[in-house]
C-alpha cells in the first residue's frame, strides 16, 4: 500500500522520541544530575536523546587526544631545575613537522658562541599546525606533547595564534595529569621522572662513584 514505507519510517522516529522519555523515567528525571547517567548516555547503551550539553557537561577527551603541541618543562617547584626546558633544540620536531609550523632558535653559549642544548626561542604557528602529533611521536626527549585543551577560540589571530616558548611551556605535572598512563610508561622507559639527560648524567656519576669505591677497596 502506498504510504506504508513512510509510516514505517515515522514509527522509527516515534520510537526514538519515546525512548528519550523512557530514559528520563529510568533515571527518575535526574538524567542530567545523576553521576552515572552521562556515561551511559554516551555509550553503546544510548537510547533516545544522545546530547552532550556543552558547556554544562563536556565529553572528556581520551589520553591520546591530539590538539596543539606544548613543551614540557620541569615542575616549577623542582628542587634543582625549576621550570627548566626539557627541549634540547635538536630540531627533530621542526624537521618532521609536515606543514613546517615549528620554528626553533637554538641556544648559544654567550661566551663561546657554540650551540648549547636548549632552545633560545620556540614558536608554533597554530594557524598552520595540523595536529598530526609527529612532533610528540618522534621527540627523543619526551619534551613536546600534544595538549588536550581545545577551547582556544579567540577574537584576534595576529596576536594570539603564534605561540612562543612562554605560552607553549607547561609543567611536567600537567602532562602527568592529562595522560597519566602514557606519562608513566615514558618515565619507565627513561628510568625515572627526570629528564633523559639528567638521568644519564646521574647514572654516569653513580657509576663513577662506584668505580671510585671499588678502586679504593682494591
Amino acid at each position: 500500500m502506498y504510504g506504508l514505507g513512510i509510516w514505517r519510517g515515522l514509527q522509527v522516529t516515534l520510537t526514538h522520541f519515546v525512548n528519550t522519555y523512557l530514559d528520563d523515567i529510568k533515571w527518575g528525571f535526574r538524567r542530567h544530575i545523576h553521576p552515572d547517567a552521562f556515561a551511559e548516555r554516551q555509550s553503546l547503551a544510548a537510547r533516545g536523546v544522545f546530547t552532550v550539553e556543552y558547556p554544562d557537561e563536556k565529553l572528556a577527551v581520551p589520553e591520546r587526544f591530539r590538539f596543539i603541541p606544548f613543551l614540557v618543562v620541569e615542575n616549577y617547584d623542582h628542587p634543582d631545575r625549576p621550570g627548566y626546558d626539557w627541549c634540547t633544540s635538536c630540531g627533530i620536531c621542526a624537521k618532521v613537522c609536515p606543514p613546517q609550523c615549528i620554528w626553533i632558535v637554538r641556544g648559544k653559549h654567550p661566551d663561546t658562541g657554540r650551540p648549547k642544548p636548549e632552545p633560545e626561542a620556540f614558536f608554533i604557528d597554530i594557524d598552520i599546525c595540523m595536529n598530526c602529533g609527529y612532533c610528540a611521536e618522534f621527540c627523543p626527549f619526551d619534551a613536546i606533547k600534544m595538549d588536550h585543551d581545545y577551547e582556544l577560540a579567540s577574537y584576534d589571530r595576529t596576536s594570539a595564534h603564534i605561540y612562543d616558548k612562554q605560552k607553549l611551556s607547561k609543567e611536567l605535572r600537567y602532562w602527568q595529569s592529562i595522560a597519566p598512563t602514557y606519562a608513566e610508561q615514558e618515565a619507565d622507559a627513561r628510568g625515572g621522572w627526570e629528564h633523559k639527560d639528567v638521568l644519564k648524567q646521574r647514572d654516569k656519576a653513580a657509576k663513577a662513584a662506584q668505580a671510585e669505591v671499588t678502586d679504593k677497596t682494591d
Binding site: G5, K58, G91, P98, R106, E137, F138
Partner: protein, 612 residues
C-alpha cells in the same frame, strides 16, 4: 544478490603484453628497464593504436589511473603513465608514453577509454600536456587564465620557500614569520610580461560555459525554454564546493558539466615537497570522512617501494588485523554518512542524518581513543600502525565540567560489532528501503549501464551497482583480505536505488568481516604492531609503485615515484570521487533537474578527494 569475483591470474601482464605488442608494433613498444620501474614504454606516435590493441586484443577494459610525471633533469621529458586492468581481476598493465617538456603533446585516449577524460584534463591543467583530439581540453582544477602548469618541477608558487622539506629556515635559527608578511603580495607570482591589471578581463567564468552552451551566447541567444543553470559551488546538495553547469530544456537536462577545483589544495605539489612520512597526515585530508582507509592506501604503496630495498620487514599479522578493523569501521562510517546525506538530498531533511551520525559518533569514540583524533587519524605507518589499540576507552577530566567515561575497548568493540551496528543497519533498512521517498525518486533514475560503468572507469559502489562485481579486495587482494570470508556486493540496475542498496549490502558485509576480525584481534594480543625503524626521515628505494585499496567511495590509488631520497619525485592520487564524476553527465542526461541532486548524492563524492 552477490557473487565472488574471480581470483587473480598469475602470468606477468608485462611479458604477455610485450609479446603481442612487439610482434605488431615492432620497436615502438619497449620494456621499461629503469631500476625499480615496470611496464612498457610506448612511442607517442603509436600510443593510440597500441592503446586500442591493449583494450581490444589484450582485454584490459578498465583504465584505473592516468597521470603525468615531470622528469626534469632526467631526460627532460614528461611521461604519461597509464594503469589498465581487466575487469575480471588481476594485476595492472602499466604503459607509458613520453613527450618533450617544451612541447608536450600526446594523442588522447578518450576514444579508447572514455574514463580518461578528466584525468587528461588534469594532466593538461597541472602538467601542461596537450592532448590531441580531446573533446574538451580545458583546465579542470585551476581556472582558465591561470598562469603556468603548477606541477612542473620548475614552476614555483607565491610562497615558495625551498624545493624540498624540511626547510632550512626552521632550525637552528628559526625566527618565526608568516610567509605572507615575509613574501609580500605578488612576489614570485609568475605574471606574463604584457599583463596589466586594468586591461584584464578574466576568461575564467565565460570559459566554464564554453562546452555547455555549444556556441550559444548565454546572455542573448537562448530561447526561453532553454536555460543554463549553474548549481553551486555554494549549494546545500553539492556535498561541498562542487559546481555543476547544466543546460536545461524546460526541466529536462540536455547537458551537464561538472566544474571543480574549488577545493584544490595542491595536495600533489605539497606532497612532492614533503618527505614520505610527512604525507601521511595529508592523506587524512583527502577523503576526510575515511581518513584511515586513505592512510592504508598510502602505507601500502610506500611499503611496495620499501619491499624493493634490502632492509624491509612486512607488518606483523596483528598490525594487518588492526588495519582491516580500522578500514572496515571506516567503511561503515562512510556508508551510513552517505546514506544519511542521500536522504538529505531527497528531501528527508536531517532526520536520517541524525540517526546516521549517532552511529558514526560511537565509532569515532573508538578512533579518538586509539588514534588521538576523531577525523584526522594519521594512524598507519610504513610497517604497521602507530600504536596498539588501548586497553580502555577512557576520558581524562581536564577542563571544567568534563565528564568521564571508562569502557573496556574489547568489550566496546564486541558489543559495537555484534549488537549496536547490526541493529542500526537493520533499522536503516527498515525505515528507508521501502520508504516511498526512496523508491519513487530513486528507482530508474541515473542509470549507468554495465558497459558504460566500465568504460568511464567508475569505481566502488557506483561500479558494483551496475552489475560489475569488481572489488579491489578480491580483484587484487591486499592485507589479510584473502583470509577473510565476505561477498562482493553487487546489484544490476545501475540506478540510484541500487547504489543505495549496494551500500547497505556493503555495510552488512563489513559487519561480517569485523566479526571475523575480532577473534583475530584477541588471538594476536601482545604482538608488536610496528616493524619499521621508527625514524623520522625514512629513505625509500628508487622506483615506482601504484598502491590501491578499495576505499568506501571506490578504488583509491597512490602512484609514487621515488628517487631513493627522503622525498618523492611524483606523488599522485587516483581519487575515486574525481573519476566517478566522469560519468555524471551520462547518468543525468534526460532526467529532470531535481534528479541531479539525487544522482550526485548516490555517487557519494567528497570534495577533498575530488579536487585534492
Amino acid at each position: 544478490m552477490s557473487e565472488q569475483a574471480p581470483v587473480a591470474e598469475t602470468i606477468s601482464p608485462t611479458e604477455e603484453a610485450l609479446e603481442l605488442l612487439q610482434k605488431r608494433f615492432k620497436k615502438t613498444v619497449r620494456r621499461d628497464d629503469r631500476e625499480g620501474y615496470g611496464g612498457i614504454v610506448v612511442d607517442a606516435s603509436r600510443l593510440e593504436k597500441v592503446a586500442a590493441a591493449i583494450h581490444d586484443d589484450l582485454g584490459y577494459d578498465y583504465l584505473s589511473s592516468a597521470t603525468a610525471v615531470d622528469y626534469l633533469g632526467q631526460g627532460d621529458h614528461v611521461e604519461m603513465v597509464y594503469h589498465a586492468y581487466r575487469i575480471a581481476g588481476g594485476p595492472a598493465l602499466v604503459f607509458k608514453a613520453q613527450t618533450p617538456r617544451d612541447e608536450a603533446v600526446l594523442p588522447t585516449l578518450t576514444g579508447v577509454w572514455p574514463g580518461v577524460d578528466f584525468q587528461e584534463r588534469e594532466a593538461w591543467d597541472l602538467m601542461g600536456i596537450r592532448f590531441d583530439g580531446h573533446p574538451n581540453l580545458k583546465r579542470i582544477l585551476m581556472w582558465e587564465g591561470f598562469h603556468g602548469h603548477p606541477l612542473r618541477k620548475d614552476w614555483h608558487e607565491p610562497f615558495f620557500e625551498e624545493e624540498l622539506k624540511p626547510f632550512g629556515s626552521r632550525w637552528p635559527d628559526g625566527h618565526v614569520q608568516r610567509s605572507e608578511e615575509h613574501n609580500p603580495y605578488g612576489k614570485n607570482v609568475q605574471y606574463p610580461a604584457e599583463w596589466s591589471p586594468e586591461a584584464y578581463e578574466s576568461p575564467a567564468e565565460p570559459a566554464i560555459y564554453d562546452n555547455i552552451n555549444l556556441g550559444v551566447d548565454v546572455r542573448t541567444d537562448l530561447a526561453t525554454d532553454r536555460v543554463i543553470v549553474s548549481l553551486g559551488p555554494q549549494h546545500p546538495s553539492t556535498h561541498g564546493v562542487f559546481r555543476m553547469v547544466v543546460r536545461l530544456d524546460g526541466e529536462t537536462i540536455e547537458g551537464l558539466e561538472p566544474v571543480m577545483g574549488y577545493l584544490h589544495r595542491n595536495h600533489e605539489k605539497i606532497g612532492e615537497r614533503n618527505t614520505f612520512i610527512q604525507n601521511m597526515p595529508y592523506t587524512d585530508r583527502l577523503d576526510y570522512i575515511c581518513s584511515l582507509s586513505n592512510n592504508l592506501g598510502y602505507a601500502i604503496s610506500i611499503e611496495q617501494l620499501m619491499a624493493l630495498g634490502a632492509r624491509y620487514e612486512p607488518p606483523t599479522y596483528r598490525a594487518e588485523v588492526i588495519r582491516v578493523l580500522m578500514a572496515e569501521l571506516t567503511r561503515i562510517v562512510n556508508h551510513v554518512w552517505a546514506i544519511g546525506f542521500l536522504l538529505n538530498d531527497l528531501g528527508a531533511f536531517f532526520t536520517p542524518m541524525m540517526y546516521a551520525v549517532i552511529e558514526r559518533e560511537l565509532i569515532l569514540d573508538f578512533f579518538e581513543a586509539t588514534t588521538g583524533s576523531r577525523m584526522m587519524c594519521n594512524y598507519m605507518r610504513f610497517g604497521g600502525v602507530a600504536a596498539d589499540i588501548p586497553a580502555r576507552i577512557r576520558g581524562v577530566a581536564n577542563l571544567i565540567n568534563d565528564r568521564v567515561r571508562d569502557m573496556n575497548t574489547m568489550d566496546y568493540l564486541h558489543s559495537l560489532i555484534h549488537e549496536r551496528l547490526p541493529r542500526a543497519i537493520d533499522q536503516l533498512d527498515e525505515y528507508l528501503t521501502t520508504s516511498e521517498i526512496m523508491t519513487n525518486r530513486c528507482m530508474g533514475v541515473g542509470v549507468l549501464t554495465r558497459d558504460d560503468a566500465i568504460a568511464y572507469s567508475a569505481a566502488g559502489p557506483v561500479l558494483r551497482a551496475s552489475g560489475v562485481p569488481y572489488d579491489v579486495r578480491r580483484a587484487e587482494p591486499y592485507s589479510i583480505y584473502p583470509d577473510l570470508d565476505f561477498d562482493v556486493a553487487v546489484r544490476y540496475h545501475g540506478d540510484v536505488y541500487d547504489r543505495y542498496l549496494v551500500r547497505l549490502d556493503e555495510l552488512r558485509q563489513s559487519i561480517r568481516i569485523l566479526k571475523q576480525v575480532l577473534p583475530l584481534l584477541n588471538d594476536t594480543d601482545g604482538q608488536p604492531v610496528f616493524t619499521g625503524r621508527g625514524v623520522y626521515s625514512p629513505r625509500v628505494p628508487a622506483g615506482e609503485s601504484y598502491g590501491r585499496v578499495e576505499n568506501p567511495k571506490g578504488e583509491l590509488g597512490f602512484y609514487v615515484v621515488s628517487e631513493g631520497k627522503q622525498n618523492p619525485r611524483r606523488y599522485h592520487v587516483r581519487a575515486p570521487s574525481f573519476i566517478n564524476l566522469t560519468a555524471l553527465e551520462q547518468m543525468c542526461k534526460g532526467h529532470k533537474v531535481a534528479d541531479v541532486v539525487a544522482i550526485l548524492g548516490s555517487i557519494d563524492i567528497v570534495l577533498g578527494e575530488t579536487d585534492r
